[in-house]
């Protein structure tokens, strides 16, 4: 069992050190698709879901929902009604680049995971929604997928059984919001990707009204490992309450940025050391632990904090996508927040007023402060704006915009105040 503390002896499983693992024959030499074969011949769908529940795997797309539980929400099979799986490879959260590396280096693990999930939930098709910018990776995956079709691992009578499952790659065209699950479904249906109001949840009414489950790339890639080695093995890796291997995408002012695979629950300070420490021997100022949507942490807040859902929540942030951005002491937090606000303003789909207008005003106000023309009371206006946006919209993008704004201002208040002019008249005048 690997606890996060023994990371030095950790053996990678999502991206094991095998040359050309993306080739089908090499993947099969390594025992690839054996888990699927065993699942198809020996296990019932309930067994698979039970094993997933035992593993304790929680979704890697950002929300951290228990995967086994999500799979068990699918309604009983109705032979007249299709059911779909969607694999969310829209990965557009700033600071996140792990799914792309997984698709580049171990695509068959993802395909196998998709097929296991389809079997567990009695589905015949999976749409793999890849963001449009990943055009090169779509081409690479299409090559490997067609090899898997030729080898009869996917498609009609796959692996010599009566099963028929298809994997269909769908290419997005550049919209962050398509990562949101209901928006992804609208996009697949060939519409403008406006998120839907929930309920009904995708398991009741998803794409084309059919029961649908949506999972992240990394989540699905864990499924073959769990089937091969058992849920108990998986549950023993890393943090107790959200176990498993995790891809950490480290970027920013570190000496060795990149995607690292380690157990969940790693100490942030250890990860910083693994990534070669801060560039130029500078001091750490701030850390974004899980993509742009999660609250930023000040350097003095990370001692003893580990990269798992519970510990980060306690310290006042979230695990998100584990895309970690380290920022050094020279970083201008006002410019940082200005860019984050710009991102959300650009990516708001415009469906809900608090989000469409709020993100715009956020950007305007922070730009004004960044340009040295802001007043102190603009900070309170911004915080008030966050209250007005949170929890009042169709999807969580408005919340995801409000959290970093609120927390960056609160945690780096000095940086902001220094840039503001004192309010020269009473607020209620």
């Amino acid at each position: 069992m690997t606890k996060a503390g023994d990371w030095k002896s950790y053996q990678r499983v999502l991206l094991p050190p095998v040359k050309n693992l993306h080739h089908l024959n090499i993947y099969r030499d390594q025992g690839g698709y054996e888990a699927l074969r065993r699942v198809l011949s020996e296990k019932s769908p309930q067994d698979v879901i039970g094993e997933m529940k035992r593993s304790g795997l929680r979704g890697r797309g950002g929300a951290g929902f228990p995967t086994g539980l999500k799979w068990s929400f699918m309604p009983p099979v109705d032979p007249d009604k299709p059911r779909y799986l969607c694999c969310n490879a829209d990965e557009s959260e700033p600071g996140t680049f792990k799914d792309r590396q997984l698709m580049e280096y171990n695509p068959h693990l993802l395909f196998e995971g998709i097929l296991i999930a389809c079997y567990a939930m009695s589905m015949r098709a999976c749409y793999l929604y890849v963001r449009g910018e990943y055009a090169s990776w779509i081409t690479l995956m299409e090559q490997e997928l067609s090899k898997a079709y030729e080898a009869k691992l996917v498609g009609e009578n796959m692996m010599g059984t009566q099963q028929h499952m298809d994997i269909i790659i769908h290419k997005g065209a550049g919209a962050y919001i398509c990562g949101e699950e209901t928006s992804l479904m609208e996009s697949l249906e060939g519409k403008r990707a406006y998120p839907r109001i929930k309920p009904p949840f995708p398991a009741q009414s998803g794409i084309w009204g059919a029961p649908t489950t949506i999972n992240n790339v990394e989540t699905l890639a864990c499924a073959p490992l769990i089937m091969e080695r058992g849920g108990g093995w998986f549950a023993g890796i890393g943090a107790e309450k959200n176990p498993g291997p995790l891809l950490y995408g480290i970027s920013g002012h570190v000496n060795r940025p990149g995607v690292y695979e380690y157990p969940t629950g790693m100490l942030i300070t250890d990860l910083l050391e693994i990534a070669g420490g801060m560039r130029g021997g500078k001091k750490l100022k701030a850390l974004v632990p899980g993509g742009a949507s999660v609250p930023v942490l000040r350097a003095d807040m990370i001692d003893g904090v580990t990269m798992d859902i519970e510990s980060l929540k306690e310290s006042g942030s979230m695990l998100g996508t584990a895309g970690m951005l380290f920022l050094d002491e020279d970083t201008d937090m006002v410019a940082f927040l200005r860019r984050v606000a710009r991102f959300y303003h650009h990516e708001s789909c415009g469906q809900c007023t608090p989000c469409r207008e709020g993100t715009g005003w956020m950007e305007n106000l922070i730009t004004r402060i960044d340009d040295g023309e802001g007043n102190l009371r603009d900070l309170d206006l911004l915080l008030d704006l966050c209250d007005q946006m949170e929890g009042r919209t169709v999807c969580a993008l408005a919340d995801a915009a409000a959290w970093p704004v609120r927390n960056t201002i609160n945690r780096f208040r000095d940086d902001f105040e220094r840039r503001c002019r004192p309010s020269s008249w009473a607020v209620n005048a």
Binding site: H170, G190, G258, V259, R339
Partner: protein
């Protein structure tokens, strides 16, 4: 009120624009039609194929003016409004003509602090073009992009919605622009995972066109 009606604040698109393509050009070859019907078969209704078909149309025509959207709508049997709605929702579909090379420079936060804006400014100066516009020679369009999912190899950009160019520096930009001007295709660059470098000594893919390591990112001078 009457003034308001006469001078709308929001400029509506020209209801009857001059077409960019003649009706002879506006058709799909039988090969393309086969591809489209293959996509249509992958979805329960033809709606699902609209994004793939728009990509195909953009590849063929370079951008998506109304007459091309109408062609896509006719081909798929969908209302024009739906196709127009989809095309205008996504940033990667070009609604107006762009340069032969579209450079999407990422300036989102990881790139912002490692020189994304320096690269953008360098390109603006080198190609004599403002961000969001096309250079006077009509060859290069320079745009600011949101996170492109390659934050570990920042600063970076994407060329023509295709290959990524990582670890940009002014010198590297010079070489890349020269390669584009002489018509050489940009390679697909595979970035070696740091753990692979330690455990395997090299990139795990032996079929990549070009290989780079993640490297210490530079410091940015500009942040906007």
């Amino acid at each position: 009120m009457a003034d308001f009606i006469r001078n709308p604040v929001v400029r509506l698109p020209d209801p009857d624009p001059e077409p960019h393509f003649s009706s002879d050009e506006l058709n799909f070859t039988s090969d393309e039609k086969d591809r489209i019907s293959a996509w249509v078969r992958q979805y329960p209704t033809s709606d699902g194929a609209v994004m793939w078909t728009l990509w195909l149309a953009q590849e063929k025509f370079g951008f998506l003016p109304p007459e091309v959207l109408q062609l896509v709508a006719t081909e798929l049997g969908l209302p024009y409004a739906q196709v127009y709605g989809v095309a205008t929702f996504y940033t990667q579909y070009y609604k107006e003509k762009k340069g032969a090379f579209v450079l999407d420079v990422c300036t989102c936060f990881s790139c912002q602090f490692t020189g994304g804006y320096d690269i953008l400014a360098y390109l603006e100066e080198k190609l004599k073009v403002k961000r969001g516009h096309t250079s006077p020679c009509g060859r290069f369009t320079v745009q600011e992009a949101e996170c492109l999912g390659a934050c570990g190899s920042a600063p970076m950009m994407q060329v023509n919605n295709g290959p990524y160019a990582h670890h940009l520096t002014p010198e590297k930009i010079d070489t890349l622009i020269q390669a584009m001007e002489t018509g050489q295709p940009l390679p697909f660059v595979s970035i070696t995972l740091p753990q692979d470098e330690d455990e395997m000594g090299d990139n795990r893919r032996s079929d990549a066109d070009a290989i780079e390591s993640y490297q210490t990112p530079p410091q940015s001078k500009r942040t906007q």
